[in-house]
C-alpha cells in the first residue's frame, strides 16, 4: 500500500514537473522559427473563443464567448456573442465599439492599453511578437504545446498586466490560449478553438 502511494506521489509530482519545462536555447530558436514560418503564411484568421475571467473571491469564473477575426496587416475584430452582443474592431488607429447596437469610437491614442493589447494579439498570430522589446520573454515546453511568457518592461503596462502567457499548439505552431495575469492573482484566460486560416474575409467585416 505504502509503495503504491509513494508511486502515485512520484507519478503525480513527475507529471507536475513535466507540465512546464524550460526550453533550451536550441529549442527556443526552433520554436520561434516554427511560429514565424506559420505566421508568415497567415493572411486571415478567424476563431471562436471562450473567455474565462478568474477573480479569486468568486465561486466560479465569469464566462463569455464569441468570435475573433484577424486580417493582415492589422484589422482585428473581437465579437462577444454570449451572454451579450459586444463587438470591438481595431482599425486604422481607431477602436470601434458596438455595444448591443450602441455604437462608439475611441482613438487608440487615448487608450494606450487597448493599442498594446491589439499589437499583442495581432503580434501573437503574425509572429512579430518575439522581437517585441517591450517584454522579457521566457519559453517553456508542455505536453503537445509550447508556452511563452511575456513580462512587460514598461511600468505603466505592468500596472495592468503582470504577465501574458501564450500557449501554442506544437504541431500547428499557432496560439491556442491567451492568459492575461493581472497584478493580483486574478487573470483572464481566453481559449481559442475552431480556427480557420486564410479563408477569404472581406474588409467590410471590420465595420461596427
Amino acid at each position: 500500500m505504502k509503495t503504491k502511494i509513494a508511486l502515485l506521489i512520484l507519478f503525480i509530482s513527475g507529471n507536475l514537473f513535466a507540465q512546464e519545462q524550460k526550453m533550451s536555447d536550441a529549442e527556443i530558436a526552433a520554436f520561434k522559427q516554427d511560429v514565424n514560418v506559420v505566421s508568415k503564411k497567415i493572411k486571415t484568421l478567424s476563431t471562436d473563443f471562450v473567455q474565462y475571467k478568474h477573480l479569486d473571491f468568486l465561486s466560479k469564473d465569469i464566462e463569455t464567448s464569441g468570435k475573433m477575426i484577424f486580417k493582415e496587416p492589422n484589422l482585428l475584430q473581437w465579437q462577444y456573442k454570449k451572454p451579450y452582443n459586444y463587438s470591438i474592431v481595431f482599425k486604422n488607429g481607431k477602436i470601434l465599439i458596438n455595444d448591443e447596437g450602441k455604437k462608439s469610437a475611441v482613438d487608440i491614442g487615448n487608450s494606450k492599453i487597448f493599442g498594446r493589447i491589439n499589437k499583442l494579439i495581432v503580434g501573437s498570430v503574425s509572429g512579430n511578437m518575439f522581437d517585441d522589446k517591450e517584454f522579457t520573454i521566457s519559453y517553456f515546453k508542455l505536453k503537445g504545446q509550447n508556452l511563452a511568457k511575456f513580462v512587460p518592461k514598461d511600468a505603466t503596462l505592468k500596472k495592468y498586466i503582470k504577465q501574458i502567457e501564450l500557449t501554442f499548439d506544437k504541431e500547428e505552431a499557432t496560439v491556442v490560449q491567451v492568459k492575461l495575469l493581472e497584478s493580483s492573482e486574478d487573470y483572464t484566460r481566453i481559449v481559442l478553438k475552431n480556427k480557420v486560416i486564410n479563408a477569404k474575409i472581406d474588409d467590410s467585416v471590420f465595420t461596427n
Binding site: 473567455q51 475571467k53 477573480l55 473571491f57 468568486l58 465561486s59 466560479k60 465569469i62 464566462e63 463569455t64 473581437w78 462577444y80 454570449k82 451572454p83 451579450y84 459586444y86 470591438i88 465599439i97 455595444d99 450602441k102 462608439s104 492599453i113 493589447i117 500596472k159 495592468y160 492575461l180 493581472e182 497584478s183 493580483s184 486574478d186 483572464t188
Partner: protein
C-alpha cells in the same frame, strides 16, 4: 394662432405642475400606519452567489461599459469589482455601511469625487436593511421612509408582489439618487438603474445570464 397659444399655455401649466409636484417625495402620497419597523432587501444578500452584471455608465455624455461584479464576503462587507468586457480590472472596492477600502483602481478613474460618488451609490445598492420611521402609500406601492444621516431613503414596495422596485435617496427638499429594480423572482434583481438627479450620471446593470 390663438389655438396654439392656448396649447402653449396648457403645456406650460402642465410642466409647472409636474415640476412643483416633484418638490417633495411624499407630497402625493397618503400617510399610513406603520406595518413594519424594518425592511430586509433580498438582492445581493446571498454570500454564495456571484452577482455579475453587464454595465453601462453614462456620465456627462460619456459612455463607459463593462462588467459589474458584487459578492458578499462577510456579514457586513461586499467586494465590488468593475472590469472591461476584456476582463481588465478597472476598480476593486470593499464596502460596508461604515467602512470602505480601495483594493485597486486604474489611474484614469482615481478621482476622489468619482470614488465618493460610486461609494455612495454602491452602499445604497448593497444596503441590506432599512429601519422604517414612516409609511405612505399610493395606488401601486407601499412607501417606507427610512432615515439615512441628513437624508432619507424612500422604499417603494409594490402592493402587487411585494417587490422592492425603487429606492429614492433624498434631502428634505430634493431627490438625489434613484435606484430602480426589476426582479422576476424577488431574490435577485435582473435589471437595476442608478440615476443621479444632481449630476449627469446614470448606471445601468443587466444581470448576466450564464448558460
Amino acid at each position: 394662432m390663438q389655438k396654439s397659444t392656448i396649447q402653449f399655455l396648457l403645456i406650460n401649466c402642465l410642466l409647472a405642475f409636474v415640476l412643483v409636484s416633484c418638490g417633495s417625495v411624499t407630497k402625493n402620497y397618503t400617510l399610513k400606519k406603520l406595518d413594519k419597523t424594518s425592511y430586509q432587501v433580498p438582492y445581493f444578500t446571498d454570500s454564495k452567489t456571484d452577482y455579475v452584471y453587464k454595465t453601462n455608465i453614462t456620465v456627462y455624455g460619456h459612455e463607459i461599459s463593462g462588467i459589474f461584479i458584487a459578492k458578499k464576503i462577510n456579514d457586513t462587507t461586499h467586494r465590488v469589482v468593475f472590469t472591461t468586457e476584456f476582463g481588465n480590472k478597472l476598480l476593486d472596492f470593499e464596502i460596508s455601511e461604515k467602512t470602505f477600502k480601495v483594493n485597486s483602481i486604474v489611474s484614469e478613474l482615481d478621482r476622489k469625487i468619482l470614488i465618493n460618488t460610486l461609494t455612495e451609490d454602491f452602499r445604497l445598492l448593497l444596503k441590506k436593511e432599512y429601519l422604517i420611521q414612516e409609511q405612505f402609500e399610493n395606488e401601486s406601492d407601499n412607501i417606507y421612509k427610512s432615515k439615512d444621516g441628513n437624508r432619507d431613503n424612500y422604499l417603494f414596495i409594490s402592493k402587487n408582489g411585494s417587490k422592492l422596485e425603487k429606492v429614492v435617496n433624498a434631502s428634505k427638499t430634493k431627490e438625489k439618487i434613484t435606484l430602480l429594480f426589476s426582479s422576476e423572482n424577488n431574490i435577485f434583481a435582473d435589471k437595476i438603474q442608478i440615476i443621479h438627479q444632481n449630476i449627469k450620471l446614470k448606471i445601468e446593470l443587466n444581470y448576466f445570464k450564464s448558460e
